[in-house]
Symmetry: D2
Amino acid sequence: VELNFASDNSSGVHPSVLDALHNANSGYTLGYGLDLWTLQAHQVLRKQFGADAEIYLVWSGTAANVLGIKGVLMPHQSILCAETAHLYHDETGAPEAHLHAKLVPIQTHDGKLTVEMLEPHLVFRGDIHRTDPRVVSIAQSTEYGTLYTPAEIRTLADWCHAHRMLLHLDGARIANAAAALDVPLRAITTDAGVDLLSFGGTKNGLMGAEAVLYLRPGLADHFAYLHKQGMQLSSKMRYLSAQILAYFADDLWLHNARHANAMTARLAQAVGDVPGVSLTQAVAANAIFATLPPDAITALNRHAIFHTWDPLRHEVRWMTSWQTTPAEVDAFAAKIREIVPQFAA
Amino acid sequence: VELNFASDNSSGVHPSVLDALHNANSGYTLGYGLDLWTLQAHQVLRKQFGADAEIYLVWSGTAANVLGIKGVLMPHQSILCAETAHLYHDETGAPEAHLHAKLVPIQTHDGKLTVEMLEPHLVFRGDIHRTDPRVVSIAQSTEYGTLYTPAEIRTLADWCHAHRMLLHLDGARIANAAAALDVPLRAITTDAGVDLLSFGGTKNGLMGAEAVLYLRPGLADHFAYLHKQGMQLSSKMRYLSAQILAYFADDLWLHNARHANAMTARLAQAVGDVPGVSLTQAVAANAIFATLPPDAITALNRHAIFHTWDPLRHEVRWMTSWQTTPAEVDAFAAKIREIVPQFAA
Amino acid sequence: VELNFASDNSSGVHPSVLDALHNANSGYTLGYGLDLWTLQAHQVLRKQFGADAEIYLVWSGTAANVLGIKGVLMPHQSILCAETAHLYHDETGAPEAHLHAKLVPIQTHDGKLTVEMLEPHLVFRGDIHRTDPRVVSIAQSTEYGTLYTPAEIRTLADWCHAHRMLLHLDGARIANAAAALDVPLRAITTDAGVDLLSFGGTKNGLMGAEAVLYLRPGLADHFAYLHKQGMQLSSKMRYLSAQILAYFADDLWLHNARHANAMTARLAQAVGDVPGVSLTQAVAANAIFATLPPDAITALNRHAIFHTWDPLRHEVRWMTSWQTTPAEVDAFAAKIREIVPQFAA
Amino acid sequence: VELNFASDNSSGVHPSVLDALHNANSGYTLGYGLDLWTLQAHQVLRKQFGADAEIYLVWSGTAANVLGIKGVLMPHQSILCAETAHLYHDETGAPEAHLHAKLVPIQTHDGKLTVEMLEPHLVFRGDIHRTDPRVVSIAQSTEYGTLYTPAEIRTLADWCHAHRMLLHLDGARIANAAAALDVPLRAITTDAGVDLLSFGGTKNGLMGAEAVLYLRPGLADHFAYLHKQGMQLSSKMRYLSAQILAYFADDLWLHNARHANAMTARLAQAVGDVPGVSLTQAVAANAIFATLPPDAITALNRHAIFHTWDPLRHEVRWMTSWQTTPAEVDAFAAKIREIVPQFAA
């Protein structure tokens, strides 16, 4: 058994998605999104996220985050986000490089922001020597695999709007979040007051298709230009759109996400009580975070691929995907149960 | 018959490429290019372009152009290019947006630069009130479908190097150029002194795979970071790499390009003498540029999709691809022969 | 006699301006423009340019141009300007570096734009693959020392507004223009429809004080932040403001500009008929442009400092300032009359 | 008595500096720093900072920080600095806007960095998904008025160099630091291993003159262009240079700084024991930081101008300058002694 719990993007493409690419491969179309597949993909996404949604498909999740925010941010404005946000520290400074603006990192214990954490950052609002907070960015599920309830998102959105700010949601794993919460996608986005969504599909079985969605009217006035200028307007867009169509046909997104979450739950149940394994976050979606004895990490990595999340704390991340099988989970759990206790104090 | 002569990117994906995507869809890999397909794709490209080539796959041709140059350009430096360069006026200001540098447009009649055109732009070299020319960017084939000979490229490269400058080649259609010139790819790139190549495959039968290639050592020191920061490092890179592998298996790139060129030649032969059709450029690769009577354009567009290249001059572009069939060419030629003369003076 | 006709910024500071700096040097103030001198300077400028003017003092003319436009330009938009514009080629790419946007250079024979020159640049308006023209930038007087009439400016402004564009005026030498035209400053700015002005004083006797002026409401909403972010908000602003106050006390600006213009007129009259001196532009403000025999330039430069404007055409610029004396003009004219004919064919 | 303890930039210009401006106001010069005053100013600064120093005068301290670092930083690299750094949060995002790079804020209790604080930020060095730390930026004196010893700076510099990083010193108040430590300027810069200095004069009696100094060879290769592009190359540079000359004539910089520091010491001694006044930082240069009862701040502000540094903690800053008189200090101390205890618990 090949054991790879490194990331949900280590997995392949769901067969239905490849079939859809085949089906899209007929005849000529206009390029750059002026094709029928793209028209349909937009309709499908609007069905999920509301009729007002303005939709722009992109290849990259980093691009969805960065360009989406670029459409609503001036360089003297700033973004408030968790210090653990992918946007903040996993994108090689792409936000600063493309937005030319400041991200303000906020310490959290679980990757989730609250109004109480945000309030102090308005104390100098209006002081022209400081940046002007304009966007709050959250991830759902978070980089720690934790979840916001719809009510928590609504609270953040209301706070943002009360302060002339916008709420951005990094939905690289929004399917896993919706599946875990057992709610429709729009319950944690449009209906919860989110203004701007980075919609992710790549980590949940697509080949590479993400989207910028402006969920309220009036936010996307210039984005068609930024789409191209941002180097994310595919000339052969139909092959991104076809992926989106496959993703929502027969609820593939949901089945994939439920499966990934179930595999993580199975793993958590199997190893949660292993001596030496200390879960650092509540397990809610498709990732487990735990500290291990340092030598246990080395030993375990001989049998399975996974990331050390925080080398200073010896914290690892174990992640499952649509492709993970129960057999792989069980084999990995067995290795964990066998190896880690040997190194536990 | 569906008549679409708008662009080579209106065509679909070659079946071999789809097959390759299927074949790549097995098991887990590390993401972000740390997979075996990508390793192989780099080897295949090095075989074409030389052992020193540093290679970075990207989704977008605009990105290949812009990010590739970003790796070697500081913002007080400038790029000399033809006014008709895709880089200059078809990328929504992406170069300025990402390079923060000036592009200096140079008038040409056929999209090709010469040393004589470049020389005057060094007259203020060293004046700190002017930008410092650092990169000459050419396209092969050009946006006008014209070609540089290997010797012409070598002359430009030597001039660049004599002036501490670099030669960038936009190879969005490099396969068509090599096929038309009947030379290997490296004869018009590495062996001709090109420093930096935007390698294109999307327009010639791929789904979406391009590459930045630094052809000489020492140019790519920081590019691995820019690849990610530039939002072009695919998490599921194997699906770009698999396209490259298919492209060079059995010389698919060359067969596709030869076919596209042959279809253009067939069309040119069929319509070159039609009253009202005035070719504006020598036909060399896979595009025809011609002026038509304005009303002829409108009438012809009812039967076939193609672009008006220059509305002020009533210049159209007719472009063929790997997918264009002789029947389509003949049908289109028949329409041209039928319609245009009606509007000719 | 020291002969320096290189630039109006080779001259010193008018004594009244130094006196004003002394007078401002009393007691404490708040920094960053929250002082009484700045309040007064704004009032004085509003008196000249209208009650709606939003005013931001800066040190640098380049900054006035670049930051002023930054307040109204997004990076997918572009600026139309003469190829000879200081903004285009004398600022080391500062516009591209700070605006991240394209400047579109337009060929002119006298540095002046017309609607006819601008019209073709709208042909692709709305095409998201091209930048969106947003600002027309003109200079008054132009870099060639030529002038727009108030009616010509109004025509350009009307055209801009009819096309949802803004008219920027680079007023580095606006005093010379107003003096030459014998009109108030607002006749060629606010009253002629200019939206945005770079107001210059440094070249006309100040030590270093320029200003960004938004002449219509609603354009400056964010500029207070950009002022600081743009590194042009002086902590000791009172010393810029005091210069502005001195500039408008007793019409110093006008006297200085009239004098500079008169000195240029005197020089033009004295040398216009010298064999070998071919004026290339109509002499209107405080600069003369002429081609000379190449060796004459070298010989003349032994006696007087001036710039070769275009080395390829052997065109020189002779410029006068508030400080130029009739004796200096006469001595320079004598040298020209003595030396140039020796090299004339 | 006018009581202004808001900032050292609330003060005026030292009379010697105004005299120097008068003296510089004679005859013509070439612009943009090609004048004799600038040549001399560079010599004077090299005498202070070493013969290898490359010097560029600018108007603004923000510009000295931002542009100086721009000369050595690529956008995928990052800057490590104290969270309290002026660079980080008092410049309206200018670093992000101009460097397009990430600043990593580090928590400190006194505004000073240590190697122990920096080490963890190298844990992901070489990971292309993270920015690459390239510059450590410290301030001397710090924004909290605290000081690094020469040995502490040397330790940071050695650490930087051992990790291929550069040490930047924000010397907006370097005169106060050198005076307080009773060492030459180069003891805390060049001789301590600092690579890059923002030299400040404006806060210590100049009208507006700062400088970028590259203290080691090989760092400033492109800066002459960035100087102009960064909108900080004064056309009438002699008036900045003349200020520098006055600053180092008769050790004006040192006398001014000693005086400012002495005034702060006098104030600290007079109010350190006042009930309700809790000093939050050791008093070392020309600023006092203290928490007061909130209502005491309001009451005291009726009599004296000063800033609330941290509204959440009710922390104020009292700052003195070259211009502060003993009488002003005594009057302010009397007010503090009278008012604050009324509000103390």
